[in-house]
Symmetry: C2
Amino acid sequence: MSLKSWLPLLEWGASYQRQQLGADLLAACIVTVMLIPQSLAYALLAGLPPQVGLYASIFPLIAYSVLGSSSTLSVGPVAVISLMSAVAIDQLGLPSVEEKVAAAMVLSVLSGLMLLGMGCLRLGMLANFLSHPVISGFVTASAILIALSQLPYFLGVQIPADSAPTMLLALIDSLDSVNLWSLSIGSACVLVLLWIRSYLKRLLRAAGMAERGADFLTKAGPVLAVIVSTWASGHWGLAEQGVQIVGAIPAGLPGFSLPPLDLSLWRELLVSALLISIVGFVESVSVAETLAARRHQRIRPNQELLGLGAANLASGFGGGYPVTGGFSRSVVNFEAGAQTPAAGAYTAVGILAVTWFLTPLLYHLPKATLAATILLAVLALIDIKAIRRTYRYSRSDFAAMLVTIVLTLLMGVETGIAAGVILSVGLFIARTSTPHMAVVGRVEGTEHFRNIERHAVETVPQILTLRVDESLYFANVRYLEDRIEQLLQQQPDIRHLILMCPAVNQIDSSGLEALEGLNHRLSAQGIRLHLSEIKGPVMDRLQRSQFLQTLSGQVFRSQYEAWQTLKAGPGVEESGV
Amino acid sequence: MSLKSWLPLLEWGASYQRQQLGADLLAACIVTVMLIPQSLAYALLAGLPPQVGLYASIFPLIAYSVLGSSSTLSVGPVAVISLMSAVAIDQLGLPSVEEKVAAAMVLSVLSGLMLLGMGCLRLGMLANFLSHPVISGFVTASAILIALSQLPYFLGVQIPADSAPTMLLALIDSLDSVNLWSLSIGSACVLVLLWIRSYLKRLLRAAGMAERGADFLTKAGPVLAVIVSTWASGHWGLAEQGVQIVGAIPAGLPGFSLPPLDLSLWRELLVSALLISIVGFVESVSVAETLAARRHQRIRPNQELLGLGAANLASGFGGGYPVTGGFSRSVVNFEAGAQTPAAGAYTAVGILAVTWFLTPLLYHLPKATLAATILLAVLALIDIKAIRRTYRYSRSDFAAMLVTIVLTLLMGVETGIAAGVILSVGLFIARTSTPHMAVVGRVEGTEHFRNIERHAVETVPQILTLRVDESLYFANVRYLEDRIEQLLQQQPDIRHLILMCPAVNQIDSSGLEALEGLNHRLSAQGIRLHLSEIKGPVMDRLQRSQFLQTLSGQVFRSQYEAWQTLKAGPGVEESGV
């Protein structure tokens, strides 16, 4: 392991060129414009003051640009992780905003330490435990929860992030105190943003604007909404009309700060931090891999753990909250032509400038505007098509997806994602626990052996060949034993049982024990057990045990060899098709 | 589903014969003699009054004989389940014995309902989630915990069932209050029982006694110890010397009783009941299957769920505590020649008689005697050989076993078994998440394709064939994508990628999505994706999706056909070996 492989910065930094600088700067500008309203809005979603979102968009980006392996990933606050943070912090029941911010920092540091730890242990494969249907179901349900949590800002009321039914009830309860000003601003923003997204680019292009410029203006839609609504809010003094506004944001950086060393607080946030780490990592890696593949680059999942771990650590010590690589911003970063992780660092500089100079201008920004940008961002995450496709293709994957959606909506994000993981692993084990097995016979005149139920093949009553189409492991040995017992009862003449193993990719201890027991029992009945077509690695492992010495029969390289040898042996009749 | 398949009693009862009656009665006698001290001792282990053990040996046996599918399983109190019950009840911190008995009944009813529920849902395959190494590790650690929990009776002190270190410390603390009488009785019993087990049968045979008689007397060893030590305890008034004795046991049956309907109590016992149900079921089914296979009979796991469920329900309503099929007693029942589940019912009658007439005689029975019988019973469960064998054969199975042992000893039975299950499933997923894949070429002059790294085979720079030796599912699609990306970077000339799938037993939604993404990306690079040797069921499922319509290449039945077709196509050079 060279230093370069741990610090990708050394790799790409050494050959950094002017052309890359230009591309990275342009991408950084576009992403910064996109990130300003997003960072404020997601902090709001997490139940934190808006500046926390800005802080989470500065140091983490710089940390990731040093350690991350993706050249286009845009790290920072994202919707789903903000929701999970809100839930984790809400559970603590803290009375003051300061304590909530401190808890968010702890959550971020914990998550950073976990990700770094996993990275050092090369546990990037942990992401594999989340199946696509579960992720997709979880994201869809989270998007619904997020959308619900934003509705109160439209109505000018406030309810905590909770399960969907609780939020709905709280929302209905608060309908009598609706603030029409908030509702007007929020609705106007949604309509304008929808219009911008659907028509503006086409209109600008038709008016003769260059592709790139039209694209930039379309992406800047939310910033436009922020500017206009902030001006309107300040001009007409809407805060006095009950419109919730962002208010005073301290200018400048928070300075390096230590999260509180309250052990019970750390312990209480442990599980939440773990779930946030895993979900954040999976989301980020999926995005990074998708984008890297489009440019025929590769990312290294274990390096990503380090990059994201450092980003979260930086976020925690820099007054921020948990971050990860987000989908929409990364796509924008990619399409804007970002060449290296430096683009992220330039974005950080952009946000830093905003934090230093522009926060006073955001005083009158209505929260309803931010809610509108969140609403539009998360509605894109609800993937009805994926749900339908999964339903058509696999009922058991669909079941896992549905349970994840329902539990996330009813019991919250943490229960939902945990249940989804358990269910998809459980269903996989359940499926492989009743593997396909076929009694096979010889296709006459050839060396091929095929399922006797599908083909006209040659068999001998004294020889039974069973092809096992799955690895032998603890979950399916019982089924194998049962199947063999059944076959032996049906065919009492059998003297030789051959297990044909071309698709057996591993045999674990339980599988070995089952084979030993089978060998023992068959011996007592005067039946010899043989193996054929065992794969190399499986054979290597079997040789470490006593099994091959006690095996009553032989191990054959090919099924044809087994057939020829045993058919010519004593006590075996002529064959019949 | 006929009534007969739900009530095995109707099946074997219809053809019950005098010869079977004789065999069943003899087996019942032997098992009854064995069960008397065991039922008292295991109740003690569970922290319950001795009569609860007797009650748990009456109704459950009758219920199982109606619904159970094994002809030799001996249901009743067993060591590991008694320990788990002790832990579950201890957690509640109940002050009085009456409340503990009530909690035990609730635990039993809950477990019975769960088992019945799983039986109705045909969830017998749930037992498959426990791998042999985890079961073996769990039983070994439980045996150590049980042995530790019995030592206080030798010393004449009492400590609650807890983690191994806590019990050891409590034991050391109590060393200054050792009762020498208890110690003498306990040690004498252990020595005598060891002697009986090792030498008595040989001695009796040498003295000319018949095999069967000698066997019976050897099995009756614990009863002998009970009789002699009870007599000694009564004769010398050892209770006044501080020896703990069993004391008054109410004669006769407890009568049908309802467990308390305290909802919070039921909820608190839910998880424990689930773990007890699963462990009990797995233990019982393993024993039943092993014994059934020796007689070429079969048991039905789903029917066993019903049988054990009914047994636990009966135990709960009849004043008992959780029961299951025990290993040692079932083996004795089998070897004594039990022919049908009726043997269990006759055993119940035997225990009923004991409960009715003999309980006054047990007044002076020292608890140290019972502890000695438990100690000898559980030491046989510590399987050092299995641990060594697993270590040699598979490091990852050994890791799962070790974690189960250590966590069971340090954190208790519930944490231990839960961690074991999670770990063995996790390790299996981890192993299948980096499946074996091989780039293959054609063995010249044949239709065979082999790994290019191991064989001299024919390849073409424009065609890449990758054989995937594992099902494609959520845990390994990332690895597949990564591997393909890597191969394409190494071989820029590739125009055709063939995935050869003879060992792909399933493709789940995540696998399908990965293939779709791959097809899309390869198309953009001008590479066509082909599939060969897809299995029938996998193909059937793929046809439910849009994938085959969008596939840039073809689906070939055989790899040879793919090779011939693509090699003859445009843009493919001459082949080279």
